[in-house]
């Protein structure tokens, strides 16, 4: 398996191929999110919400893609005037792909029942009795979720780096600030739409 290609697909694949893949993945990913009853209530967040519909998942997903694209494109234009919108958009589209796998993981029934129990009685979170198998599964799923989150940031970073040719450490700081800013902004905008 070519790991380099997985870590930086922007290096080899044409913008057209990445764009088509990203759009199809967004639609399928939103559908998976709807099936698993998850919600993207922040740029880098996935939570369980049984009221999610396909339209809500698609709307949340689209907002995150547009938000991070616009913010990173503005930063990219300041850093390098030759930055193209399509390259930043592609970075944002692929950045979302690991989140679809995250929502897929939330399909596990025991996670859903655990979530229901916590929601019913949030104060009893420390008193929950979990059997060793459930505990091991939760730990395993947590590790996979964290890995997927890191992978999504890596994809966004590599895509942004390819789109703008950034090299200075200060630019990486700005990149981090933009992610945090987009997270805050998405939490403000989502309830309004």
């Amino acid at each position: 398996m070519n790991w380099q290609l997985l870590l930086n697909p922007f290096d080899k694949f044409s913008e057209k191929n990445i764009f088509i893949f990203g759009i199809i993945a967004s639609i399928i990913g939103s559908y998976i999110t709807f099936l698993s009853g998850a919600t993207f209530d922040g740029l880098i967040e996935v939570h369980l919400n049984p009221q999610t519909t396909f339209f809500i998942a698609l709307k949340e997903n689209s907002l995150h893609i547009v938000l991070i694209t616009v913010l990173l494109f503005l930063l990219g234009k300041i850093i390098n005037k030759r930055t193209r919108f399509i390259d930043v958009l592609n970075a944002a589209l692929l950045f979302r792909v690991p989140f679809y796998f995250m929502s897929l993981l939330l399909i596990f029934p025991f996670l859903q029942s655990l979530d229901n129990e916590i929601k019913k009685n949030p104060e009893a979170i420390g008193k929950l009795s979990l059997n060793p198998f459930d505990l091991a599964m939760i730990l395993l799923i947590t590790c996979v979720l964290i890995s997927l989150l890191v992978y999504s940031i890596v994809l966004l970073y590599k895509g942004f780096k390819t789109a703008t040719n950034v090299k200075k450490p200060l630019h990486y700081v700005f990149f981090g600030v933009i992610i945090l800013f987009a997270e805050i902004l998405s939490r403000i905008i989502l309830p309004l739409i």
Partner: protein, 90 residues
């Protein structure tokens, strides 16, 4: 044979001190600057040649090399930056 452009000892740029005619064996000694193109690495020289042969189309070059357009453009930008620095330090 590959022309060395960097000193293997101190990594400073090398200069031309001797040239020789293959036919009559006349030798010219002096202290000449290497042309800018020759100060670039072999890979960078090949890149410029490829760019020329593809009629200046980065898109075409990217397609031939199996790379994406922005990757190729970044290589080009880095090379332009390097050539500008070499021109300044002349």
């Amino acid at each position: 044979m590959k022309l060395p452009v960097i000193c293997p000892s101190c990594e400073n740029s090398l200069r031309v001190s001797q040239m020789k005619c293959d036919r009559c064996e006349t030798e010219v000694n002096g202290n000449y600057d290497l042309p800018l193109y020759l100060k670039l690495s072999r890979e960078e020289q090949d890149f410029i040649l490829e760019f020329f042969l593809s009629s200046g189309s980065i898109k075409e070059m990217a397609k031939q090399a199996g790379n994406s357009y922005p990757t190729m453009r970044n290589k080009m930008d880095d090379l332009i930056e390097k050539i500008n620095e070499l021109k300044k330090s002349k």
